[in-house]
Amino acid sequence: MSPGISDEQLLDLYRVMIRIRVFENGVRRLIDEGRCGHVSLSTGGEAVAAGVSAHLTAEDQIGSTHRPLGHLVAKGGDLKRMMAEIMAKATGTNRGKGGPYHIFDKGVGALGANGTVGGSVPMCAGYALANQLRGNSSVAVSYFGEGASNQGGVQETLNLAACWRLPVVFVCENSSPDVQRMLGHEIDYPQLSIDDVGARGAAYGIPGATYEGWDVEKVYTVTGEAVERARDGGGPSLLEFKIHRLGSDEDDPHCPIKRFREKLMSRGVLTEELDAEMRDTEAVNVKEAIDFAVGSPEPEPIDAHMGVFVEDD
């Protein structure tokens, strides 16, 4: 048993990871079948999304990226309405107007995907600023990739959050050139000048550290500390998690689900039956989500012309 994480919590983490994978695999099939447009999937990053969101409630906010599905699912995003958005339906989270790059699910604090690399990061400082001004104990989590970590707005926001001691946790998922190189891509010039983005915390006087993002228990533990610090007024932290972007299967040695599954099995926390049951449950959820999306109407063309502004109160 992992110190400080109950079996129940471990299974919850596992369940969320499975949910993400099954959901994304459903989306993957839709893409392959030409039933929806391009969607950037987050497969391989499930441990990060699950381990981080386990510490958050609907009152906490996250800001995500062009690869938002894992983050949003873990944050409690409505699967049906997310799927409907991916299929551009009127019942989607964004009523079919935003698409996967722009999914927001405000009710659960998923605020939100973003089409601009690094674009959501300054906004997360704003969520945290609102929390601070309102004097509540909510925390914002800002996800971004190692590519985004270089964007000016991201680096500016690290400084701003530190100066204002904002309750925000920066989570960098690094699927970096090194990782890419291991996957067989040739790189002429690096795009990240250092190996570990976590080391950039020191550039802003905030805690920063690097971990293996395929280890959900590690993610859970270190994020717990960072979220706690933020809730207690201790200001921002920067967590970097290395990840490998994967396909749909669970063969890869860096697959966070495979690794966690084996661990839980060997510890006797998970059984084949329970695993199968969870997967079945999520498969049903995803099927229902797809059915909901398929059965939902397209937005009315006239909708295109509405909603540039909201009505005055």
Binding site: H102, M123, G307
Partner: protein, 322 residues
């Protein structure tokens, strides 16, 4: 008895009143807490350093933080020390601030005001003198207010802060000391309703911001010769097309004036609207008076040469009424 205050004091009053009225209104930007800046002077002392906050020189981060705070329902008023400096932050402004409402299908809205100081006339050269409201009006999703006098400054700013949508609020750097009658109590000036600055019969001059003064001077100059109607749209988005078209229907002539770049600018838009919807009223070619697509030169004479002013408006009026 009317009370006379300056444009900057009018801004200050609007901020003060709205911050009192609504605890969710707050203010940040570079040097907003400094006592030597009349538009924000005294606010920190009243509302505290948390709600009136100096930001690092990182426009992307702090404007984005404004967007985020607005997304969760607060009412940030963010100051851009000069509109020119916003160019480092255009994704946060033109994508996140402006488009989030539409992109989320209206499930989210962004009740944020971006106060942008703008304008030329002080020899501050090409990177400290722009207007750029043409860019903001081009891009969908933001309302754009350009008050030309203290009364409108106060009333439009209160409207802007209460608007559930993002508003870019343009304050001309040379209007700060302009004086005018401003009621002490709070009031709103509605968006999308033009001000008929002066009535006339021969030509319609549509002018914006500081150029409203120049248009009025031109009208004075031509008094007895040409009867000039001056219209101040007050907001470029939404635009009171009705008011412009009604006026052109009467006068048959249009001169559009602003100090932004001419090409694909606000004067182009006004000309196009009239050529589309007021064509049959037109008795003469329309005319535009704007910056002739030139970066603002440093030398004051050159700057004057490039900027629109009453003389150039007079010439344009004469060209269309001749």
């Amino acid at each position: 008895m009317p009370r006379v205050i300056t444009y900057a004091e009018a801004i200050n009053e609007a901020l003060r009143a709205e911050m009192r009225r609504d605890p969710e209104v707050f203010l940040f930007g570079e040097n907003v807490s400094s006592s030597w800046r009349p538009a924000t002077k005294g606010l920190k002392e009243l509302f505290g350093r948390e709600r009136v906050r100096d930001a690092p020189i990182t426009e992307t981060a702090f404007i984005g933080a404004g967007v985020g705070a607005a997304v969760v329902g607060m009412k940030p008023v963010v100051e851009l020390m000069l509109v020119d400096f916003g160019l480092v932050a255009m994704d946060q402004i033109l994508n996140q601030m402006a488009k989030t409402t539409y992109m989320t299908g209206g499930t989210v809205n962004v009740p944020m005001v971006l106060r942008a100081i703008y304008g030329a006339g002080k020899g501050n050269a090409a990177t400290h003198s722009e207007s750029l409201y043409g860019v903001y009006a081009h891009m969908p999703g933001m309302k754009v207010a350009v008050p030309s006098n203290p009364y409108d400054a106060k009333g439009l700013l209160i409207t802007a802060i209460r608007d559930p949508n993002p508003v870019v609020f343009f304050e001309h750097r040379l209007l700060g000391r302009m004086e005018g009658d401003v009621p002490e109590e709070s009031y709103t000036v509605p968006f999308g309703v033009a001000n008929l600055v002066r009535e006339g019969a021969d030509v319609t001059v549509v002018a914006v911001g500081k150029m409203v003064q120049e248009a009025s001077k031109a009208a004075d100059t031509l008094k007895g010769e040409v009867s000039v109607e001056v219209i101040d749209p007050r907001t470029l988005v939404p635009l009171d097309e009705e008011a412009v078209l009604r006026s052109v229907q009467k006068t048959g002539r249009l001169v559009a004036v602003d100090e932004d770049y001419e090409r694909c600018g606000f004067t182009s838009e006004v000309a196009a609207v009239v050529a589309e919807k007021g064509f049959h009223s037109l008795k003469a070619p329309v005319a535009r008076v704007a910056n002739p697509n030139i970066p603002i030169p440093f030398n004051r004479n050159l700057e004057r040469h490039v900027l629109p002013d009453a003389d150039k408006i007079v010439r344009a009026i004469k060209s269309v009424v001749k």
